[in-house]
């Protein structure tokens, strides 16, 4: 489990996870995650799906709309961060940063939670879970689909 216990030597209150400042492109994305929903953009012209949010489709430059995603994906790559001087992250070390390929296609950066860092594997199936980080924004973290043991035998390292 990602350890969020502050260092014993650091007596300051825990620093919260940083929150994004929504803009015209991203507000629907962050607010959906705030409500516990993962959304992706779909081109109304060619049907391509994409993240991060943009004002147009990257394939055909057509207009885009927001559609609900399943929240399922697989780990494309990952690292275990063992050194970061910035709070709050240094209080979580070691933790997993990963790129997850969503079932719908887009790739997102995230943290893998709900398992030991050493159990994460490329190809491992994961599912979104959500954390509110401000009144207007939530973020999608990902956890192994079938609990803490699912990573051990899924995909070669």
């Amino acid at each position: 489990m990602t350890d969020r216990t502050p260092n014993a030597t650091d007596e300051r209150p825990p620093k919260p996870r940083p929150a994004p400042t929504p803009d015209a492109d991203s507000a629907p994305y962050w607010s959906a995650a705030r409500e516990g929903r993962l959304v992706v953009q779909r081109c109304t012209n060619c049907g391509a799906r994409q993240l991060y949010p943009r004002d147009r489709c990257l394939v055909c430059r057509g207009p885009v709309e927001w559609v609900e995603a399943t929240g399922r994906g697989t780990v494309y790559s990952f690292t275990v961060i063992r050194q970061n001087y910035s709070r709050p992250f240094r209080d979580w070390i070691p933790y997993v940063v990963a790129l997850v390929d969503l079932e719908e296609g887009p790739r997102v950066m995230t943290n893998i939670v709900g398992c030991e860092p050493d159990d994460v594997r490329i190809g491992m199936p994961v599912r979104a879970q959500f954390e509110a980080v401000s009144d207007e924004a939530g973020i999608a973290l990902f956890a192994p689909v079938s609990g803490a043991d699912s990573g051990a035998d899924s995909g070669a390292d």
Binding site: P18, P20, R82, N84, V97, M109
Partner: protein
Amino acid sequence: MTPPRGRRAVIAGVATSDYPHLPHLSEHAVHGQSADRALADAGLTFADVDGFATTGFFPMYATGVAEYLGLHPIYFDETNSGGSSFEVLVEHAAYAVESGAVDVVLVTYGSVQLSQMGRRLGTGGGGGGGFAPGPAIYDALWGNTLVGNYAMAARRHMHEFGTTPEQLAAVAVTMRHHAATNPQAQEREPITVEDVVSSRLVADPLHKLDCCVISDGGGACVVTTEERAADLPGDPVYILGAAHATTHHLNLSAMPSLTVSPAAQCGPVAFARAGITPADVDVAQLYDSFTITVVLTVEDLGFCAKGEGGAFVENGGLEIGGRLPTNTDGGGLSACHPGMRGMFLIVEAVRQLRGEGGATQVPGARIAVAHGTGGMLSTGATLVLGREAP
């Protein structure tokens, strides 16, 4: 594109500043020291300079350095593509002199990041805001670090091609071997593959010794025309071909494939412009922010097939006499890495072509490649340099 008669671009002078620790110098003084030495190397003075290029982390940076140096150039450039910036600036300078816009472009670099910031660069940040303007926020919320981005590329390369930590380590071992003969190098004590893979993990699978050093330092070069160089004391080095490319900025999630860097785009273009193939290259100076950076670059520039970079760098592949003698000064992994190391690649490439490589001289080197990598594998820029006119 063939330039007008006599206006073919050459590098007439190069220099590094003192390095790797300069607590007694300001950042701008490092530019000044580098400029003095490169102009002297060329046999020119500040009065001959009509074009100026550099880059740093503030807008109008080149203007500020020109002011500090007392230059009033009629051409300036501060294109910032991170670590590859100086290859891009020299490419632009070549176009500027070949077009006839200017005759002598001074390109300088200076950094005192070690003295100013200590060793935290690369393992801080990831906190969003600040250094994550606009869309850069999407990958900035997760506590990832600069090292973490390259670590994810390394992990993916291992997954797709079976590359091993020991193969990555071979890059660091060779750079240290070369640094041992460079009296200025920051780290000169020999290391083994075992030393690298048993050093502490910073971001899996990259260990401390898979990461570059953090230094103060700078360098400069003087770009002019073949015609002008004919009146100068030294032998010019020809800029035979150049190109650069980008695939993404700070969002690694926007990189099409973690195992293909922008070198795959700009390398073949630069080689074609120079009229050479990878087999013609005698010595390479390749950006080595991390060991994986070199493995990706030798593949993407076509020195070996995609996926074979691990085997290519093993067993002395990058040593003098090896498959591709690389980073003969010890590279960023051991000699000096002040943040945007691209200038050092150019200086060392020119020294090799002039036969000034000392203990790590590649005998008879005629063609050198300097390839910079910037950002999170975001940009690449290739320069092909030659001892003889094309």
